[in-house]
Amino acid sequence: MTSRFTRYGIKIAWAFVALVLVFLYAPLLPPAINSFANLGDRGLFTHYSAILTDWRLMAAVRLTLLVGLLVAVIAPLLALLAAEAVRVWRIPKLILGVILIPLFVPGISMGVATALFFQILGISPSLLTITSVQVIWALPFAFLIVLTALANFDPVHREAAYMSGANRWQAFLEVELPQIHQGLLGAAVFSLILSFNETIRTAVVQGGNNTVQTYLWSQYQQIGLSPNLYALMTILIVATLALIALLALLDARRR
């Protein structure tokens, strides 16, 4: 049916898509290449092992992992409550509108607003302020994922549990949770990825603390990037890619 003209057109269109993908993936390579530069006669992983002996970097790594873990636990739980509220309260448009707000606030504005808020309240920059701002940022994404998982759960199953004499918690834990737990896990992994993704908001509320991401950012602004920092970036990229692979695996299992 399709003429030769449109068939060529479609081939060109796919070539365009491929070209766009090349542009999107190209930036994932240079940090890895730079992390193996200027090795001299030292080992291949010199710049990587240098991270281990730099206490400031190690403190940043620990903080990044801690914040990431907290965000990965808190955001999906809040998302589950919000998704539950969509079902109970019957005002989905309003709920969606509220939860998606952080998606549409410019990153630096969000940082400034929360920083001023904590300052007025006398809460000094800490793990609390960093985690709060990252949870808020991850919540809309986690919410959409959990909502999708809940949409695949037929409430009739819960009704059946009630009729079999289960109370609300039993119905949730024994009937609903097993069906939606992979969605929750997906939301957790996604939240962790978003936490690894975050620099600008965190940089405004962190005070004297540093995550890996904000450490890179401040070093770039102050003295420039070194091979050690490229090694750190490479680790960050690889960790993110590993988490994405995990997400894909979860998704494939759900289907």
Binding site: P27, P92, T114, A151, L216
Partner: protein, 294 residues
């Protein structure tokens, strides 16, 4: 069918538990944004600030160099968003119409992966790729396309647009795909049966129906580019300022009221865009699939 919610018993306790995420959003983002607006009328005093009702901060913002920054941010964000839509729309369209069902998710996934890697790190990487001694210039010289390294690759408008587009465009494919895939095929067929060709069908049926997703994507891209900090600093070079950089430089001299004023302008602009979007489109058109049974 009666719905028995998860947290039973005391209705108040249930409302409080279910209300938790909204309380968090209200306290940690809506409240602070309002507070920021209030502080934008305060006065800077030495290293701190005191409550006041002055328009000085806005006057400082809307005059001189910072006005230029505002106008440039508006233009860069607007034009970059147009470019992002022009790139993202055909991609979403191809994925929706020309791809077998099993391949849709993997291809969408390909666009999600780079978006999920820290974008500041990706922007650092662009500055390496585009530098005078970087691989792109080396390749261009090796192939004899140019004799000397191209200067305009880095620290230029070109670099900033490239950085912005690769940072925000991938995510824009998703809302556009969502609204395109939600279009009832029968409407397209009806247009065919009524004798319209593919271009008219696209212009009068498909494009209008996909607009909610396009506008949602556009707002996302615009807001991101408008408040940009990293891309302009790393790829624009010294002196290239977008609104986010103006906020950051106000912060770095501890002028919080001015930072609050600039920040509030961008927040209000964002609010206006969202309200307009909300007025014109029904969210369910786009999120109907997700919310079907909710």
């Amino acid at each position: 069918m009666t719905k028995r919610p998860l947290f039973g018993g005391d209705a108040l306790v249930r409302a409080m538990i279910l209300g938790l995420p909204f309380a968090v959003i209200l306290i940690l983002i809506v409240g602070p944004l309002v507070l920021t607006f209030v502080i934008s009328f305060w006065q800077k005093t030495g290293f701190t600030m005191r409550p006041d009702l002055t328009l000085d901060n806005y006057a400082a913002f809307f005059s001189g160099v910072r006005l230029e920054v505002l106008l440039r941010s508006l233009w860069v964000a607007f034009s970059a968003t147009i470019l992002m839509i022009v790139i993202a729309y055909p991609i979403a369209y191809l994925i929706t119409t020309r791809l077998r069902e099993v391949l849709v998710r993997p291809v969408l996934f390909l666009f999600a992966v780079p978006f999920l890697v820290n974008y500041v790190v990706r922007t650092f990487a662009w500055s390496d790729l585009l530098s005078r001694t970087g691989p792109i210039n080396s390749a261009l010289i090796a192939f004899g396309i140019t004799e000397r390294p191209l200067d305009w690759l880095l620290f230029s408008d070109f670099a900033v647009y490239l950085g912005l587009i690769t940072a925000y465009m991938p995510f824009m494919v998703f809302p556009i795909w969502l609204s395109l895939s939600g279009i009832d095929r029968r409407l397209v067929e009806a247009s065919w049966l009524l004798g319209e060709g593919p271009f008219t069908t696209f212009r009068r049926v498909i494009l209008p129906l996909s607009l909610p997703g396009v506008i949602a994507a556009a707002i996302f891209g615009f807001v991101g580019a408008f408040g940009e900090v990293a891309v302009s600093l790393i790829l624009g070079g010294t002196g290239y300022q977008l609104l986010g950089n103006a906020i950051q430089s106000a912060l770095s001299v501890l002028n919080y009221p001015l930072a609050a004023a600039i920040s509030s302008v961008s927040t209000l602009l964002m609010l206006a865009l969202i309200v307009a979007w909300y007025q014109f489109f029904d969210l369910r058109l786009m999120l109907g699939k997700i919310m079907m049974r909710a």
